[in-house]
């Protein structure tokens, strides 16, 4: 199947500063991709370019369309939740459902009603009367009722409490995702989405620092816990990153041989958050 998103030498400059520096990547269908990077790394700029919300240089195709020119055709197949609480505050729940039903050919009112039935949201409430968590539930219900090919989520759970955040991704995975759909998500809270991702893209200073499937990540990265006496040995193998826990050093290796590492200490599977920190702190970044 052809790529859902294809970017080639994608660049974006804002009055002098460069937000994206000629990045290239490809996202195939049926994946859940985490786009992860620190503030100001260019995540949101990349998202905006994909959604046709900002101009850019280079080549970008989303579902075969140019998002700059064909934004409104593209939106038939792309949904996005950009940030929490962008639903207009004045609108009523019943009105927003009627509106989306009226303008979106792939929206199912029935599905949306079913999703809302699981929540405490009243049809007659205005968005401004709902709690932050309810607004996100409403937005998610709307988006999940649209049979889109690509769903883009930009910090969808920012500022929500842990219960809502868990539920959000649970719903997304159980009731929405299938092999026809692609989800692209940015977040700071990597540990929360780690288990649902199929692909990972790290972005740093407008460049891609890592782009790999989760299987490749598991293959490539290894953590070794080393006692102080073996420190020299570990450093000789050129670890990506070192951190200290209870007097022991933990080294993160990219692409090193497992049996070699096993001889110097105890092996662990690193979390995405650890790989992220290592990649961001490391001068050159991991090889893409």
């Amino acid at each position: 199947m052809s790529a859902v998103i294809e970017a080639r030498r994608l660049s974006k400059r804002y009055n002098g500063t460069t937000a994206l520096k000629e990045i290239s990547f490809e996202i195939p269908a049926g994946r859940i991709v985490g786009l992860i990077g620190p503030n100001g790394a260019g995540k949101t700029t990349a998202m905006k370019a994909i959604l046709g919300l900002t101009d850019f240089e280079g080549e970008l195709k989303v579902l075969g369309l140019d998002p700059r020119k064909d934004r409104h055709a593209l939106m038939q197949d792309v949904c996005f939740i950009a940030d929490v609480a962008v639903l207009p505050r004045w609108i009523r729940v019943s009105e927003v459902m009627e509106f989306v039903e009226g303008v979106h050919p792939r929206f199912s009112r029935q599905k949306c009603e079913a999703f809302l039935a699981r929540t405490k949201i009243k049809r007659s409430s205005r968005v401004k009367e709902l709690s932050k968590g309810m607004v996100v539930q409403l937005h998610l219900a709307l988006v999940m009722s649209i049979d889109a090919k690509l769903l883009v989520l930009d910090e969808p759970t920012l500022g929500l409490d842990i219960l809502f955040r868990k539920e959000f991704y649970q719903n997304l995975l159980n009731d929405y995702f299938d092999h026809e759909k692609t989800i692209l998500v940015t977040t700071h809270q990597v540990e929360e989405i780690e288990h649902i991702l199929t692909d990972l893209i790290f972005i740093k200073d407008g460049k891609i620092a890592l782009s790999a499937t989760m299987d490749e990540v598991a293959e490539r990265f290894t953590e070794v816990m080393v006692v102080p006496e073996r420190r020299e040995q570990a450093l000789a193998l050129k670890p990506l990153y070192e951190r200290q826990v209870f007097g022991k050093s933990i080294y993160l290796f990219d692409g090193a041989r497992r049996n070699e590492l096993a001889s110097i200490g105890e092996l662990h599977k690193p979390s995405v958050a650890d790989i992220f920190v290592a990649t961001m702190k490391n001068g050159n970044g991991a090889a893409a």
Binding site: L53, D55, L74, P88, V103, H104
Partner: protein, 323 residues
């Protein structure tokens, strides 16, 4: 474009207060004062109050001394009364529209809800055009319905009032007055106003979609500052054009042509004389409408307005969030 009905409904939902409740409340308040006036007049006829209460014509005159030769005058008076209700609602409509248009493409950028609207398959041109249609035709039609409803309520009240004095309302009110003609002309004025207002609609939407902050300042201060500069540097002097030309044809059109019926500026004063002589129904005659529609100022303004609306669509596509 097939989403227009849904988009218009959206505009109505968001602006119910201005489009619907503002004319309704204006009507209610105005009718209330009419009722109070009638109560005073009743009191007066019982000899306890010495003053005049007017509803286009003095109420006293309606119930006391009237003979058939005065019917014309009474009709004129009542028509003027009906038209004055219309005028009040039109003034309210101006303020509603002015601020509606200023916020139309700005407010959702400020509260970030534009990110929701843009996540739906709606073209930017359809969005902007729905706002143009709402300002040009939708809101004025609501105002017209409110005016007619209020006029009917007023005529009924007045009929009841003279009826209580033992006079047949059909001979003295429904006969001489011409409410149907008046309403038809109020309705006919709506598209003329819309065409005339296009430069203002275009300008306000343009600043609304362009401004990163404070669209009101952009919309109002910019044309005024420009006018002051023109006066200071005597730009127009060298072309022997008076400065008033700028105020009347540029600044006035882009800011004030939303004032309903402000195309009266085009007239040389004969309209005012016609009003004084013949009353509101005659004033708004079909020939006058044709004359206004034939004036170049109308059409040059409409073209300029169309261009500014195109500009608003352009910025709607380009601009991101407001500050």
């Amino acid at each position: 474009m097939n989403h227009l009905p849904q988009l218009l409904k959206r505009e109505y939902w968001e602006n119910r207060g201005g489009f619907f409740w503002a004319p309704v409340w204006t009507s209610i308040v105005f009718l209330f004062f009419t009722l109070v006036g009638m109560a005073f007049a009743m009191w007066h006829s019982s000899g306890k109050f010495n003053g005049e209460v007017h509803v286009g014509v003095p109420l006293k005159q309606l119930v006391e001394k009237i003979d058939p030769s005065d019917f014309d005058k009474v009709g004129f008076g009542i028509d003027s009364g009906l038209a004055s209700f219309w005028l009040v609602i039109q003034v309210v409509l101006f303020f509603v529209l002015f601020f509606y248009l200023l916020g139309a493409l700005y407010d959702d950028r400020r509260d970030r809800s534009i990110l929701f609207w843009k996540s739906l398959p709606i073209s930017d041109s359809a969005t902007v055009i729905s706002k143009v249609l709402m300002a040009a035709l939708g809101a004025p039609l609501f105002a017209w319905v409110a005016t007619v409803a209020m006029n009917i309520a007023f005529l009924v009240l007045l009929s009841a009032f003279v009826g209580m004095h033992g006079i047949n309302p059909f001979t003295i009110i429904w006969g001489p007055a011409e409410p149907l003609a008046l309403w038809a002309k109020m309705l006919a004025i709506v598209p003329i106003n819309a065409l005339w207002a296009l430069p203002a609609i275009g300008w306000l939407l343009l600043t609304s979609s362009f401004a990163k902050s404070k669209p009101f300042l952009w919309a109002v201060a910019l044309p005024i500052a420009l006018g002051v500069m023109i006066a200071i540097f005597e730009v127009f002097e060298s072309f022997s054009i008076p400065d008033s030309w700028y105020w009347q044809n540029i600044a006035g059109r882009i800011l004030l042509s939303l004032v309903p019926g402000s195309w009266i500026w085009l007239d040389d004063g004969s309209m005012i004389r016609a009003f004084e002589r013949d009353g509101p129904v005659k004033l708004m005659d079909w020939q006058l409408f044709a004359g206004i529609l034939a004036s170049p100022s109308m059409w040059i303004g409409a073209v300029a307005g169309g261009a500014m609306i195109a500009g608003a669509i352009h910025f709607r596509r380009q601009r991101e969030l407001a500050d």
